[in-house]
């Protein structure tokens, strides 16, 4: 099954982390993803750079800031192909971000006629 792994960071915890080790861990993680034939993900600018847009009754609302003002903010994503949820959970545990926030695992809807 294909899973999207959504990284949510506690930005304060991340900023307080030893940066050198953190990025070394991340480099190792990305290399492991690559060796497993999985696509690397993308890292997003912090939520201070976010803009949220909503349309209602033809009126457009543009708000500065993220969708929800929570402690943990959406920070990036990657995809994995795993035989089942346990395989995806293993990748989430390997990702350094799981120490500075949480990783939401979402199965990707398979194309029609191509379940599993």
């Amino acid at each position: 099954m294909r899973y999207m792994m959504l990284i949510h960071h506690d930005e304060a915890a991340l900023a307080a982390a030893p940066q050198k080790e953190l990025w070394a861990d991340y480099a190792a993680f990305n290399e492991a993803l690559g060796k497993a034939g999985l696509s690397g993900g993308e890292r997003l600018q912090p939520s201070s750079a976010a803009t949220t847009v909503r349309q209602e009754d033809g009126k457009t609302d543009v708000l500065d800031g993220p969708y929800a003002d929570t402690k943990e903010q959406f920070a990036g994503y990657f995809f994995v192909d795993a035989p089942d949820l346990d395989g995806a959970i293993d990748w989430a545990k390997r990702c350094p971000s799981s120490k500075y926030g949480s990783i939401e695992i979402r199965p990707v809807v398979a194309a029609q006629g191509n379940r599993n």
Binding site: P83, D84, L85
Partner: protein, 413 residues
Amino acid sequence: MNHANEAARAAERVARESYGRLVAFLAARTRDVAGAEDALSEAFAAALRMWPSDGVPDNPDAWLLTVARRRQTDSIRRRQTRNAGEEHLTLMADELEAAAAEGDIIPDRRLALMFACAHPAIEKGMRAPLILQTILGMTAEEISAAFLIPPATMGQRLVRAKTRIRDAGIPFGVPEKEQLGERLHAVLDAIYAAYAKGWNEIGDVGVPEIADEAIWLGRLVVSLLPAEPEAKGMLALMLYAEARRNARRDADGAYVPLEQQDITLWDDSQIALAEQLLRQASAGGPTGRYQLEAAIQSAHTARRVTGAGNWDIVVQLYDHLLSLTRSPVVALNRAVAVAEVSGPQAALQAMAPLAADKRMLGYQPYWAARGHLLARTGNRADAAEAFRVAIGLTTDEAVRAYLQRQLSALHDA
């Protein structure tokens, strides 16, 4: 129970055994638990109706499969005219063909299904109901009675959990060694939760059957994972409790605490079986939570032989259990055992740290234990207050009546 009833119960047992095996087999192959249940539900209902009176067929699995395949073919034929492509029905029919082709050596995948039902990605409170439904074929109505949830709500939550197993890709299988202990505990916790439902709701009609079913599931796990000591520990723990079922209430239905139970009402054969399981499990000393709890029960039943409880050992076992679980409930039970060794004052001291724990303030046994201990030290005013809080927190009529007697005994003293 008369012979006809016993035979009917035995037939029902075989039907549930066979049904659970077939559902697990299909679900593990297709990941579609609801589909597997659908495919077999009519055949299972027919078996529950016919086997108790007609007798159990020689090959129960084959009987169920034959009926299920016939119903399946009919329903596909019917549906195809109305609604082209009921994909899962066709799929299940194929899987049933494959299962039938494997003859009477259908692999037992019930353990795999139990691990899927008790996966950490499944809401904790739904793990036991899911296992009761998928492995035993119990209906949402039957399960809801024990779990005090309206049947319609229970039904919806079961459907949602099964959809989740399929859509999230929850695995069907026995976990790898490094995860087995933790995951097995989730399975054991679910079965024990089902047992506790059947144990607590003593007065309700139909509910004690859940306790029987939980014990049966416990035996199943022990037979499928014979090398796991915690599975044996949990089964032993359930059997110790079950052995005392008839001694928990007196002839008028009034609550009888463990220390005052009539030991001639305890079931010796169940205690013997529990002792044997516990010995096998803890050959190298009890290690897990269930083995320790079973060992505590074993020490309590020693009263049968020696006439007195083995409280020193009970306190030691609670020490061990407390260091393992850090649970305030364990700390409370330990304090109660301390009273039997070192007196009520020492027990109250052991209990003192719990007063700061918010969970304890709404926990009836905490206040009841406090009341008993304070009464023994002669502090009648504080004892009365503790008993009143305990009475206010009680949901069981028999326990409430017992506590009220304790409270009035204070005034008479």
